[in-house]
Amino acid sequence: MDATTYVPVGNSTEVAFLKFLQDAEIPVHLLIQRKLGRIRAASPFSPERKRSATAVESPEHNDEVYIYVKGAPEEIINLSSHWIIEEGGHTTFEDLQKDELLAKV
């Protein structure tokens, strides 16, 4: 399947993200194909929780499960213990940095 023929449909927020990736020439359709049959649990977005979560068996490493969470910044930041820094890699997410980031949001 060619990237130009894949048109994401569904929730407009998610479609926007997929289109953003497509604009960056990331083969979204191939990535979506890879996760097929590997989803272990998917909990949809709920306004009470303000987040959605999906557990996927990693396509690269056979013995790992990744849990991906997407939602309101205040909620995700609160649940995080680490964060990815500009220089690459990840370090501990201190409360001070959390507050700084939330102030920017």
Binding site: T13, A55, E64, V69, A72
Partner: protein
């Protein structure tokens, strides 16, 4: 970012071994989804924060003039009820003219779902059919809020439901709800007129009275205009009929008294 207004979303992830997942989250009485949510909520799983993304949700070009028209000419009280962040909702409301800058400081003009819930003291009970029924325990506070409320941010489906139910029962208003998501289904169902977007969720379209195929807010104003037009025509017609019938009655009555016969006879 939320003040721009952008829709802000964060991403995070966590990693664990497949063995760990299988032993702790699968094959138990509770579903893996529930166990995963519980683990997240109790911070048994902590995330690595990836980043915050802001997305522009552009307003349709004519919304501002439509809202202005609705407020000033159609005497409609337009409110914004949104699940978004309070700053986003406020910025959108100001941009669309739902919230005038001078109103922003007023008490109850901008509320979050949580404040709203606490102030009006909601309680819920189940009726015989097992449906949840909400009660407003502070009708006086609700009245005051309903009068001033322009923006309700971080609103849940039940907040929308309560607002519509309260406006109908406490304030005796005719309520139209515009919505497109699963969250809006309850409110759309309860409203006098439910207007849903053609691009919205199927469930929302199912319960609404009007589906806007072009997703155009202007069309809902036009629906209000035609609705009022029909109502107006009916009342004009009845006025006309009543006037004609009363005049004929008087003429015939006077005729019978004065000339001993009706002046309306053909022969």
């Amino acid at each position: 970012m939320a003040t721009t207004p952008l829709r802000v979303i964060s991403f995070g992830f966590a990693k664990m071994s497949l063995l760990d997942w299988k032993t702790n989250y699968e094959g138990q009485n509770t579903s893996p989804e529930q166990l995963m949510e519980d683990a997240l909520a109790s911070k048994t799983i902590t995330l690595t924060h990836v980043g915050v993304f802001g997305m522009k949700d552009p307003l349709r070009a004519r919304v501002h003039s439509c809202v202005k028209y609705a407020r000033e000419h159609a005497k409609l009280n337009v409110r914004l009820v949104s699940g978004d962040h309070i700053e986003t909702a406020k910025a959108v409301a100001i941009k669309t003219g739902i919230l005038l800058p001078e109103e922003a400081g007023a008490q109850y003009a901008i509320m979050t779902g949580e404040e709203f819930r606490n102030d009006v003291q909601i309680s819920s009970t189940k009726n015989q059919e097992g449906e949840v029924v909400y009660h407003v325990n502070e009708p006086d506070t609700f009245k005051e809020i309903a009068q001033n409320l322009r923006v309700l941010a971080r609103a849940t489906a039940s907040d929308k439901h309560i607002l519509v139910a309260g406006l109908k029962s406490v304030n005796n208003k005719v309520v139209a709800v515009t919505g497109d998501g699963i969250n809006d289904v309850d409110a759309l169902n309860l409203s006098d007129v439910g207007i849903s977007m053609g691009s919205g969720a199927a469930a929302a379209k199912e319960v609404s009275s009007i589906v806007l195929t072009g997703d155009d807010f202007e069309a809902s104003l036009r629906a209000v205009m035609w609705g009022r037009n029909i109502f107006h025509n009916i009342s004009r017609f009845i006025q006309f009929q009543v006037t004609v019938n009363i005049s004929v009655l008087v003429t015939v009555f006077v005729g019978i008294i004065a000339f001993n016969q009706s002046p309306m006879t053909a022969v």
